[in-house]
Symmetry: C2
Subunit: 455 residues, 2 copies
C-alpha cells in the first residue's frame, strides 16, 4: 500500500496528460437532448473508462441518452462507493457572446474555457482519474467503485430512476458520492447532504376553438382569466400555498440541521445586491432566510403565456392560457402526493377545466451528517482545501449523491470541484487547471478515506 | 332638381369606371403604420377627391399618417353632413395563404379580391362617388359634405381626436355618418347608433434585475405571482369587476334600447357553435346575452406573458410579467375615470408596484334613434335593400359615425356596404361589384334624404 502522497505525486506527474484529455472531452460536443452527439460521446467515454481499468458500457434506457456505467471491483472485505456525474452539457447559445469557441477548450491564463468545462466534464474526469491513479499504482481502487455517468442530467435526468430500477441488481453499494458543480465564492468546497424535491407541472386552460375579438369578452369564456383565478387560488400574496393539506406534514428542521445552517456562510446583503432587490419575501433575514430556503416548500410560476404579447394593443380573447408551475418540496412531501393534492384542490375550487401536465419531478433526499462517506468527504476537503461547507440540504432539486443514496438506501453526498464563479450554463464557462488537477486528488482522498486508509 | 332615379341611372352608367377606380385604389398598398405607403396613398386620394369636385387636402397630424379631408359646400339653407371612412388597411400576412395576390384586385365571379376591398376602400369610394354623382348632375351635393378619410383607423385612430381638436373650426356639421364594414349574414345593412368605450392598458410587474433560478423562489419576489394576484383582485370568477366604484354609475338600458335589442337578429346557438363553446359566461341567453354584450362593461385579458414558455420545464423566476387588459365601457364611464379607479384599486390593494401603461382608449358614444340622420339612413336602406338592423350601440369600440357625432355634439350613425362574410382582416378579403355599385346608390339616397329630397 503506497502512501497517499505517492498518489498525489502521480496525479501531478500525469497532470499534462489529464489536462489534454479534459480538453479533448470538452471539444467533443454533447449537448443535452442531441441524441447523435451524446451517443457518440458515450461511446468515447466507454473507451476512456476502459483505459482507466473500468469494466464499462453505454446502456440505453428507452429512447433517451445512454447512461455510461463502469465498475472497478472491491478489494476483499472493502466497501463499495457508487459515484455519479454527467457528460451531457447545456447548449452554448448565444454562441456569438462567447469570447472563445464554446467547444474549443481554449487554454488561457491557467483556465480552460468551454461549454461543460466544469459542468460536468472536469468533475466527471476527476472522478475517473482519481480511480485510475489507484489502478496504476496498486492495480485497483482501495474500495469498490461503481460509476454512473448520466447523459441527461441537464434535462432533469428523466431516465436515471428507470435505469436504477432496471439495473438494481448491479448497483449495490455502501455509500454514494457525486461530483458536479463547484466551490463557493470564497473557494471552499460545498458538501451537500440532501436535495429539495420538485414537482414541475404545466397548467392549461382552453377557451373557444380560436381567438375571438375582445368585443365578445362579456359573453365568451377567457382562458387567461380562468388561469389567473386558478393560480390565485393556489398561493396567497403572503406566500402560503392554499392547497389543503400542503403544509400539514412539514416538520421544523432538527437541532443538527439548525447547527449546520448556522455554520453556513450566508450574506443577505450580497444576495439582494446581486438580485437588485431591497429585501427577501415577507422580510425574512439571516438564519430565518436560510431555513426558509432549505426547509420550507416553495411554489414558483416559471412562465405564463396567453394571447397577444406584441407591441401595442390587440383586441383579442385568447383561445388558451398556460402556466409552468414549480413546487419545491421538503422530505415530508412527495411529488406524487403534491400532484394529487393540486388536482383535488382545483376540482374542489371549480377549476376542473384546468388541465395539469406533469413535466418533471424529483424526490427529496437527506443524508445523516454522521455517515462515513460524509466524514470521508469532509476530511478530504479539509486536507486539500483547508475547509468545507456542509449543507444540510439543497435549495436545488437534483438527482445527485444524496438522491442516489436515498434511492439505494445508503448515505450519499454531493460536492463539486469547479472554481468559484465557473459560469455554469453561461457564456465563457471555464475550469482552472489547478482546480481540475486538485479535483483528481480530492477524488483520491475521498476514496482512500472512505476505504479507511490513513491520511 | 333631377329625380333620384336619374342619379341611380348615372351610377349604373359610370359603374365600369367606378369599379376600375376601386381596383386601382386596392392595388395601391396602404398598410397601416407603413408611413411611406399611406402618405403616397393620401396624395393620390387628394386627386381622386378633387376629380369628384371636392376641396381636398392631406393634413398631417404630428408623426402619424395624414388625414385626407375634403369639403363640398352646402347649398343655401341646407344642412351639412360630415362623413367618415378610412384608407389604411390591415397588413395582409400570411400572404402565401391568399388565393389571389392581396394587392392584385383580382376580379372573379363578380367579386373583387384584395386587402382593403371592403375595409374600407369600397366604403370610402362609395361615399365619394355618391357625392360626385350629384356634382355631375347638379353641380354639387344636396347637402354640405365634409369628408374625413382616416389613415390610421386600423391602428385605433390615435390621431383622429387630435385632428378634430385642431381643426374644430372647419368641422361644424349637423350630423355624422360613417361607411365602414358591411352587412349582416342575411345581407341586411346594420346601422349602428353608438360605440362601446374602451380602455386598453398594459400592467407590468418587475422582479430581480435578471431571471433567477427557481431554487430561490422561497426568498425572491416573483413578478408573475404579483401580476396574478393583482389581476385576481380586479375581477372575480363571477365576472364582476371588483374595482370600487366601477359598476356604480351604470344605468340599465332604456325602454327604447330594449325595443331595438328585441328587434335585432340574435342566435345563441349559432354564436356558440362558431366559438365551439357550450354556453355564454354565467349562462346568459337570448336577449339577456344581447343586453350583457351591449350594455354591461367587460374586462378581458388580451395577453399575458412572463418567464419561460418553451417546451418542457425550465427552473426560473421571471424578471418581469406583463398583462394586456381591455376594459369595454358603457356611456356612464370614461376611459380616464376607469384608469383612475384602476390605479387607486391597485394602490389600495397593496399593488403599488404594478405599473400601468395606457395603450389605447375610445370614448363611448350613443345617438338618439329619433335623429334625422338615423331616419334618413334607415329609409335609404329600406328603399335599396328592403330592410335594416338598428343597433342601439356596438360591442365594438371604434371612432365611427356615432363617435364623430358625439365629439361634435351632433347625431351620428355608422353603417357599411360590404357583402356578408367579406373576410375583413382575413385572407381573400373581397367586395362584390354589386355591393360596391349599390353602395354608391346608398350614399346617394342618404344624402338626398338627409337633405329632405323626396324619394
Amino acid at each position: 500500500m503506497t502512501p497517499l502522497s505517492a498518489a498525489h505525486d502521480r496525479v501531478d506527474a500525469r497532470a499534462p496528460e489529464h489536462l489534454d484529455l479534459l480538453c479533448d472531452l470538452i471539444r467533443r460536443p454533447s449537448r443535452t437532448g442531441h441524441l447523435d452527439e451524446v451517443e457518440r460521446f458515450a461511446d468515447h467515454l466507454v473507451k476512456v473508462l476502459a483505459d482507466a481499468g473500468g469494466r464499462a458500457e453505454a446502456i440505453r434506457v428507452d429512447a433517451g441518452a445512454p447512461i455510461v456505467y463502469a465498475e472497478w471491483p472491491a478489494p476483499a472485505g472493502a466497501q463499495t462507493l457508487i459515484v455519479y456525474s454527467h457528460y451531457d452539457v447545456i447548449s452554448p447559445e448565444p454562441v456569438e457572446e462567447w469570447t472563445y469557441p464554446p467547444f474549443g477548450a481554449t487554454r488561457v491564463d491557467g483556465k480552460i474555457v468551454g461549454r461543460g468545462a466544469t459542468d460536468a466534464k472536469a468533475n466527471l474526469l476527476a472522478l475517473i482519474k482519481g480511480v485510475e491513479t489507484f489502478v496504476e499504482l496498486e492495480g485497483g481502487p482501495p474500495c469498490g467503485v461503481k460509476l454512473i455517468a448520466d447523459g441527461e442530467e441537464e434535462r432533469g435526468s428523466p431516465n436515471l430512476p428507470v435505469f436504477m430500477d432496471r439495473h438494481a441488481h448491479r448497483l449495490a453499494a455502501d455509500a454514494a458520492l457525486s461530483f458536479d458543480g463547484g466551490f463557493d465564492a470564497r473557494g471552499i468546497p460545498k458538501i451537500g447532504l440532501g436535495t429539495s424535491g420538485m414537482l414541475y407541472v404545466e397548467l392549461t386552460c382552453t377557451g373557444a376553438r380560436h381567438e375571438l375579438h375582445s368585443a365578445g369578452a362579456r359573453l365568451f369564456v377567457n382562458p387567461a382569466w380562468r388561469l389567473v383565478w386558478a393560480l390565485a387560488s393556489i398561493k396567497a400574496p403572503d406566500e402560503r400555498v392554499l392547497i389543503e393539506g400542503f403544509h400539514d406534514p412539514i416538520a421544523p428542521p432538527s437541532a443538527q440541521d439548525r447547527a449546520l445552517m448556522a455554520a453556513m456562510p450566508w450574506d443577505d446583503a450580497a444576495q439582494l445586491r446581486e438580485a437588485g432587490l431591497p429585501s427577501f419575501l415577507t422580510g425574512v433575514r439571516g438564519l430565518d432566510a436560510v431555513e426558509r430556503l432549505l426547509f420550507q416548500p416553495g411554489l414558483a410560476i416559471c412562465g405564463i403565456r396567453s394571447g397577444y404579447a406584441g407591441p401595442g394593443p390587440k383586441a383579442v380573447i385568447p383561445d388558451r392560457a398556460t402556466a409552468k408551475l414549480e413546487f419545491r418540496i421538503v422530505p415530508e412531501q412527495t411529488p406524487e402526493t403534491v400532484l394529487d393534492l393540486l388536482r383535488r384542490h382545483l376540482d374542489r375550487g371549480g377549476f376542473g377545466d384546468v388541465a395539469i401536465e406533469l413535466l418533471a419531478s424529483v424526490e427529496t433526499a437527506k443524508t445523516d451528517p454522521d455517515a462515513a462517506i460524509v466524514a470521508a468527504t469532509v476530511a478530504a476537503a479539509r486536507h486539500l482545501y483547508g475547509a468545507s461547507v456542509l449543507k444540510p440540504t439543497e435549495e436545488y432539486a437534483g438527482r445527485q449523491g444524496a438522491w442516489l443514496g436515498r434511492r439505494l438506501g445508503i448515505p450519499g453526498v454531493q460536492t463539486g470541484i469547479g472554481p468559484p464563479g465557473f459560469r455554469g450554463h453561461a457564456t465563457d464557462e471555464f475550469v482552472t487547471e489547478e482546480h481540475f488537477v486538485r479535483g483528481i486528488k480530492f477524488a483520491v482522498e475521498i476514496l482512500a478515506r472512505f476505504a479507511g486508509r490513513p491520511a
